[in-house]
Symmetry: C2
Subunit: 115 residues, 2 copies
Amino acid sequence: MLATCPSRTSLARIANKWTAMIVIALSERRMRFGELRTRVAGISGKVLTDTLRDLERDGIVTRIAFAEMPPRVEYELTALGRTLSEPLGALGLWAEQYFDQVQEARDAFDARPTT
Amino acid sequence: MLATCPSRTSLARIANKWTAMIVIALSERRMRFGELRTRVAGISGKVLTDTLRDLERDGIVTRIAFAEMPPRVEYELTALGRTLSEPLGALGLWAEQYFDQVQEARDAFDARPTT
DNA sequence: CCGTATCCTTCGCGATACTG
DNA sequence: CAGTATCGCGAAGGATACGG
């Protein structure tokens, strides 16, 4: 977090909604591309591909391609990825758990006079 | 995370690098605007203002303005914000702790043939 | 010092069409 | 089915200048 700390670059990568959602989905179990696309609803194919490639590059997921027709590709968390799934999972839980309070705060804020 | 779950919107807000860095900074102690700008290095004034306003709207930080000259404004986590600082703090720790492994994985990935 | 307003650039991301 | 390529929009974010 500190100004010049290089870990900021890795924080920027993981503090990202798509990364969070993908890692949370994969923390449950290994999954195929199409399955991921369904679970992480709203993501486009392009962005899913790009994000998975970045995560593979960073050693967080493993890409397993089967030489079949039609093609099948599965993605799985690495050991490193599994360590990451814990804080990200906690973040996902927070979002579920406190969403109502956030929503209330938003409504209250928006309802107050524009003065 | 699930397809239609509305908590996705709050996850998108908190799974964000600026949010993470600001909340982590404020988890240490209440802080002034200028101090935050220094601690969260690289952020522009505009983005810091915008993000803080969103966080205030979501009930995560409180804005305390002093009627002085020159002006002084402090930001502080709310009770809700403090609950959030735990998973985000964990994420920050992960980034520090595993940054080296991420870096190695990146280098290895980039070094491999473009086949 | 702490904003707000404006402008402009960059990039995330979705849509579509096409390949193995 | 999985992935690539291209295009384009809109949001994120930086720089600057100004106001209370």
